[in-house]
Amino acid sequence: MAPPNVATPRMRDPDERALVELERVSKSFDVSPPWLERTLQRAPRRALRAVDGVDLAIRRGETVALVGESGCGKSTLARIVVGLVDASGGVVRYDGSPLYGAGVAADAATLRRARASMQMIFQDPYASLNPRWRVGAIVAEPIVAADRSRSRASVAERVATLLEQVGLAAADRHKYPHQFSGGQRQRISIARALATAPALVVCDEPTSALDVSVQAQVLNLMADLKERRGLAYLFISHNLAVVHHIADRVLVMYLGRIVESAPRRALFAAARHPYTQMLLDAVPDPLRPKSRDAGDADGTGNGAPRLASELPDPLDVPAGCGFHPRCAFANARCRVETPVLLDVGDAHRVACHAVAEGRVAPRVAIPIAG
């Protein structure tokens, strides 16, 4: 259906200048008990640190994947990037100028320009499209919002072009979302995201709600659009196989912090952080058969200890390294001192004492060809 890729997007050198840059970005949610309870029972205020001092840069034309389990803060981070959630600390810069963050007051023109060039696709194509609007109106809304003086005819023409670009028919603009399948709805979401000709599209689990054959259609479409328009993606996912397929660079997030960051090939050739290694071991990949009992760490005594336990309560984050209760390599230092991201070479950064001290061997996730 699409021409074969001569040069795949990930082979092209992305522009070195950062398109979007996050500096020490944090977000705390106030989850305190109600005022009366606090007063009567002397219950303290409580804060949930969803994102904890994250640095992140996305260059033009680059696909950055953010992986982690539910509750690790990856969706909150995505929403901070597009301005749907305000950061409680740190700065978000677009094209070098501060956009959001504590003490940042960007002028209206900068905000308008930045918002038009950063769009978002959500996980659930059933919930993210207004069921009472025709597809044409859904896709036209951002076009009109960006330029109110635009004529109706020119908006309609643009909508038709966008629908054709995502593999739908121009005539589909008269239909309602319920007349489309899940995959087609996700195409409508993509058309809407592309309406303002963005430079960055933030995708929060865009294919998790889709069947695999439809997922392949949507991932291929996203790759084509990136190739044609030089789009950058911030791709949020829990599926490492999908990330391996689409990303240029991968960030692994755990309890609000980035614990490992590396170019795709480096990460899958030699995963360093024990958490990343654990995630790789857990990937249900039919083409990569492994011991059937690999995940049996459930008190039978004969299972591997790697997958022990689950994500801790984010309200009660362990001291030191947040991962230490689940980590086979944790020692006394891990229980008190929070590790910071350290460079281990080739733009590969890891926040782990055990890696720094050479107690963990790198894990090869992909068999070396030949």
Binding site: M1, A2, P4, N5, T8, R10, E69, S70, S181, G182, G183, Q184, D211, V212, S213, V214, Q215, A216, Q217, L219, N220, A223, H238, N239, L240, A241, V242, H244, H245, I246, F268, M278, L279, D281, A282, V283, P284, D285, P286, L287, R288, P289, K290, R292, D293, A294, G295, D296, A297, D298, G299, T300, G303, L307, E310, L311, A365, I366, P367, A369
Partner: protein, 338 residues
């Protein structure tokens, strides 16, 4: 770990009666004058201790097949065909007998563990009550049994967690509790409908491994309904692939995954992103699963099939055993015509 599965396979080979036999299972819905066929005459059996993976994409009819076996398809749905459990026909039982069967001889677990638990009772009470529904047990015996079950499904500190409420458990631990509830009646068949879909990948692996272990240790047959080939690959002994209400391919898990024969299964396998390859583009099957009432004539897959023949548009293919001597069967005219 292989012993249990091999034993089960030997048992089937020796001709021991399988735990579950399904023949011509059909589920239809009357819609005005038309009749919509959601499950269209499927056959399969599962031996004791064996895990059969029923795979398919949304709308293939896989969940409905599971519901039909459980006797959970309500009017206006209509179930035809035969379902035999341990040599007894169960689809013809009256509603009260079916209800007794569920939970006792057939356990069931579903996608969302939270909706399967009562938020107002401790998990221990729920388990003990379930046990006392099935067996004549004194309260303290029921409690001991319940704690033992919680231990069996891998809940650490089972005795202490006995008196906790569902909201105090994480998603993965809740699904373990639900599995313990399903095991309470010592069922010979467990129907697991997308049991890992709502869970994180790391937890998925644990739950899948647990199901595999339970099948082996208890000699329980498991019907695992899922869309996730990865889950199937890690636990199923055999696979049945469904498309538009029909089984299009069956075989051992290793066979179907390594050497799929039906064009749909081939396309499905090729569309899965894998850590083991480095393709720039994924193979994709264009189009979508047909809607109920708009299932194409002949082979339901022919409009999306790259190798369809003229015959495929007219005649419906039947499952034919692998001519090369494998254990599988495929419903495809292409394979028959060479």
């Amino acid at each position: 770990m292989r012993d249990g599965r091999d034993a089960a396979r030997r048992a089937t080979q020796r001709g021991a009666a399988p735990a579950l036999v399904v023949r011509g299972l059909t589920v239809t819905f009357a819609a005005g004058r038309a009749t919509l066929t959601a499950v269209d005459g499927i056959d399969f059996e599962i031996a004791s201790g064996e895990v059969l993976g029923l795979v398919g994409e949304s709308g293939a009819g896989k969940s409905l097949s599971g519901a039909a076996i459980l006797g959970l398809v309500d009017a206006p749905g209509r179930v035809d065909g035969e379902v035999w459990l341990d040599g007894r026909r169960i689809d013809t039982l009256d509603p009260a007998a079916k209800r007794r069967l569920r939970g006792r001889e057939i356990g069931a677990i579903f996608q969302d563990p939270l909706t399967a638990l009562d938020p107002l009772f401790t998990i221990g009470d729920q388990l003990a009550e379930t046990l006392r529904t099935h067996f004549r047990l004194a309260p303290d015996e029921a409690r001991r049994e319940a704690v033992a079950l919680l231990q069996e499904v891998g809940i650490p500190g089972a005795a202490a967690r006995y008196s906790q409420y569902p909201h105090q458990f994480s998603g993965g631990m809740r699904q373990r509790v639900v599995i313990a509830l399903a095991l309470a009646g010592e069922p010979s068949l467990l129907v697991a409908d997308e049991p890992t879909t709502a869970l994180d990948v790391s937890i998925q692996a644990q739950i899948v491994a647990l199901l595999g272990r339970l099948a082996r240790e208890r000699g329980m047959a498991i019907l695992l309904v899922t869309h996730d080939m990865g889950v199937i690959a890690s636990v199923a002994d055999r696979i049945a692939v469904m498309y538009a209400g029909r089984i299009v391919e069956t075989g051992t898990a290793a066979e179907v995954i390594a050497r799929p024969r039906h064009p749909y299964t081939k396309g499905l396998m090729a569309s899965i992103p894998s850590l083991a390859d480095d393709r720039a583009r994924l193979a994709q099957i264009d189009g979508a699963m047909p809607r109920l009432g708009a299932v194409p004539a002949g082979c339901a897959f022919h409009p999306r099939c790259g190798v369809a023949l003229e015959r495929c548009t007219r005649e419906r293919p039947v499952l034919v055993a692998d001519a090369a001597g494998g254990a599988g069967a495929t419903a495809c005219w292409r394979l028959e015509d060479g």
